[in-house]
Subunit: 345 residues, 4 copies
């Protein structure tokens, strides 16, 4: 059994880790920290876990995280980099669901997150945790920077096209829509029920931190310079993310060949579902599961390809992907504990 | 492996059966019928099941239901009673999620469902499928009338009190609220998104078919005549049911004793969670799981006890309960395939 | 033109006052205070008011509230009683949307609101602002305690029955459901979109401050002692309130006579709509309007009468009712500025 | 008073016309037709209109539409063109909310709507009813083709840029999102509450009938050939539309100059609100009002301009715009009866 610790388990990615890990056959939940909730049984905060998770929150000083095999950070940015060196020194692997180990470009990190990066040597060895594009490195990693939710959809949607060199890398557009849980479990006016339901808006249109993360990763797949325009929006739903991606084709290529490109790229991927050409995937078809689904469209048989990508932002977009990485790091079958059937309706 | 057939798998209780059964370790999905969708792969109608359910719908005449070990009817009222005799004769067990085998009082059935009961001999041997109150009979049954969603909450909420004789059986009130999926997957104006969201209403207040079903069952637990006032309401949420039950105490009994009554009644029940006295269970704490949670309140320490009961109407209120019955009928551990952790948020 | 000031205009009852008053033909919006938002144009906080409301928030010390004819308090409990004496001394009328002037029983106020009542002489002259039951007193009042949202529905639903003496005043039950805007515009976890949508729960079942308010008022209509069991619930919708009221009939009375009782009681009331016997009013049929609708049911022609009452909690349940009171206090037609047609869908 | 008839008043644009017209000071609602609901008082179908609309539906043969001054068609495509000639001959003006008189290109009409155009002489004189771009023609018109909801946002968002010639007309992208009421009040599975809530999807990505309508109109403003890629999506909200428009700048132009272009274009428009550069308009800021709001963004100060446009799809996107046209056609102030303050929250 893998002994697992979670730092910061009171937010949505934390409770989603608990949901997944509590039925993972190879995991023993060992410690979960919360400074504020020390001593509180996890199931008292989250009644959904009554009878499923028996442990209590403990303050960081009491939790013996160095006894774990792996520690997940479901914390604000900046926490993982403060604690990673000690854990690594004790032989504990680290999976950070925040941004501390996502961006190799430190200047970009500091610009977008507004804090200095205090752990650059660990960052250098950190591996970007997107298994479909980075599997071998993840298997060998001690430290994972788990991808952001939006970046996961953009990368898996653009990757086969960039690798094949069939699109203009310099004019990518990603019009993305997220459920409100993506904003976290924070007491903020803007995400109150009465503010965020029965309405729709964009946010961060002039600039968003997921742009540099995605660009850095996409650039690894492309010979040409990548330029990405990313527009996030907030959808009045709890879970779910839908990315509508636009790419200009620069070669003469048939729809069949484009479809084949995707089917081939993901033919061995359990968690990426390439739907028939012209499908309209719905976010709910992935709800509470680690699946990402996508489909291609070519309106008017023109020069622009539209790729529709959906996932559950808390699972494939966060905690499920983190567990997928853990499975790889510990030599388990990649889908262990991740075979939930999406909840519909 | 138990060979399972499903009649009428295109509605919500049908697709929920598929979600549960597709990961049930002792089940082989053998046939699923739909006159209209003959030949259509189930996963084409429900993309959430892509990669999880491989079979296609077949028309009733082609489906070899008599080869199954058990057949679930997720159909409108009246279908199961037409087909049950042939299946039983072939040694196939029957679990009906509609009302054909719920009410032993045929006159009541015919009054509330508006069709003649054409299968009264089978009805006589049919067992009401509420495991917590009827476990032994279910184990021995060939035919199950699976309880209605509302009746499940009302029975499990009132049962310990009626058995103990501490409340006035003649003045029960159940003010119940259901998510919209309870109305089924039918093309009707009243349950359109634009009609049923951001609003709240009662329906069927003057009389609802779940009243006689519940009264008949509660009467089995009570020496006094049971009178129940049941008021259903529609909540703008997909899944979930919340019943607020009011009972007049007729004896002098402490809150501790009342709480003990419930804890004792359900101490061995995996799917009934008695929360601490004074708790407010939320429907989402049961979402997509077979759990039912309840809590007691006694406002102003007065004579009226309030029991709050929540469940997922499609799981413990329908398909999960049906699988729980199946497990009992085939000698499996009762919780086999039913250990989903509720999805939160 | 009536010069109107608003204290605390940043919450939902405040912005709803602005929506209503900005098109009220006899009102000039003179001042709106907010300590925190001093100088901010109201329309910058609420873009829905761009082009409709030109004034800015001003800090309480700068706002010249004593120049107003009437001041509305859309503030937390305790604010109005601190400022009322000075305003009254300056000849300004006061309408408090919080609880400071609702309960004449000071001990009850202090028990339920947890603060001392510092303004009892003003409280003595304060009038409870429910026009349908208290019109003449409101016309003559200098100070109004505007009713709570739940109490409005409970009083208008029970009043004709209590006045006629046809029900048992000692066993009233009100099972009430409110949209989330009723909880206010506060940064609290429990009312986040991801916490409050797609779920349903009760709260405050063991005791809620709207019980003593309602009981005090109902008692004025009844010779017998009133006992009320009130159970509030939270509905995943923004606006709207639905109260399901249960009353035991103590006399032999026909359904026609009961219906006539209500139709007669409200025949001259523009804002109370008695629907046909057996109707199921929906909250959305009152959305964004000052209407309250109700309908009677008598399940099984038994001894219990069910009264269904709906309103928009922010209009008839709060700001609309406050404007209705203002109209009466200033000798205007009662419906001035309040003739919005409900928004459907 | 203008005598108004409505054909097909049972859908959402019909009931929204009723909401608006019932308080319009210059209108007398004269007739409303529905074959199916002949004799039913309108307020029985829509309780929100109780006390506001006194007339009943009448079957088309009984309704004396030729006595009206203007008739609105809130019907499926094809109805208006069948009845327009007779009405026009009787001197009645016609405003069609469906597509019969929107597209001057008959071949495109027949391709996208799948029916022959049987009224091409009337079509020739019909005026496209977008007042901000076509005011003078509307004033003089006898027949109006009221714009589609999506096309309204796309045209008002792109128009100032195309007129000024600062963008590449050949590569417009419109990623649009609509509330579910846009799909109408039809008994269809796909727009059931349990299908359309808590999820998000695109539809019609490969081709949608609003593309030719918008292209035809935009072409009138542009010297270069217009090419538009339009992607519609369904948002789990009742009302509201958000269009995210992408345009490539082809000239060197400052953000200030771009903002000035829009402010100048709409400086006299009461129903178009140009928000400050970099704003994020929310659909709810227009709810139940005739306002359209927009804001400009230029991510990374690059070559692509992003225009965010919001409106209520049932008001400015349909019925409000139709009344705006009517006001112009009858010489009334354009905003008569259209000054609703948006409902927030």
């Amino acid at each position: 059994m893998i002994k697992v610790g979670i730092v910061g388990g009171t937010g949505y990615t934390g409770v989603e880790l608990l949901r997944i890990l509590s039925t993972h056959p190879e995991v023993e939940l060992t410690a979960i920290t919360s400074r504020k909730e020390d001593g509180l049984p996890v199931a008292d905060m989250y009644p959904s876990l009554r009878g499923k998770v028996g442990i209590a929150f403990s303050s960081p000083d009491k939790a013996r995280l160095t006894d774990c095999d792996v520690v997940f950070f479901a914390t604000p940015h900046g926490v993982a980099m403060a604690q990673a060196p000690e854990l690594l020194a004790a032989g504990v692997k680290v999976i950070d669901l925040a941004a501390d180990f996502r961006l190799q470009d430190v200047a970009q990190f500091e610009k977008w997150y507004g804090i200095p990066h205090t752990c650059q040597d660990v960052l250098k060895e950190a591996v970007y945790g997107l298994p479909e594009l980075n599997r071998d490195a993840i298997k060998a990693a001690r430290v994972i920077g788990n991808p952001g939710c939006y970046p996961t959809t953009m990368q898996l949607g653009f990757a086969p096209l960039l690798k094949a060199g069939v699109i203009d890398a310099g004019s990518l557009i990603a019009d993305c829509k997220s459920g409100v849980s993506g904003a976290g479990r924070k007491a903020e006016i803007g995400i109150l029920f009465s503010e965020a339901s029965d309405t729709f808006k964009a946010y961060g249109v002039s600039g968003h931190r997921h742009t540099p993360e995605t660009t850095e990763q996409l650039q690894r797949l492309s010979a040409e310079p990548v330029e990405l325009l990313f527009t996030p929006h907030l959808v009045p739903m709890i879970r779910g993310m839908h990315s509508t991606l636009y790419a200009k084709l620069k070669t003469d290529i048939s729809n069949e060949a484009l479809q084949a490109l995707f089917e081939d790229a993901y033919k061995d991927e359990e968690f990426v579902d390439v739907m028939p050409f012209g499908s309209h995937p719905e976010t709910r078809s992935t709800r509470a599961s680690n699946m990402l689904r996508l489909a291609l469209h070519r309106p008017g048989n023109g020069k622009t390809l539209v790729i529709l990508v959906v996932q559950d932002n808390l699972v494939k977009g966060a905690s499920g992907q983190a567990v997928q990485c853990m499975n790889l790091m510990f030599g388990l079958a990649e889908n262990t504990g991740l075979q939930h059937v999406p909840v519909m309706p």
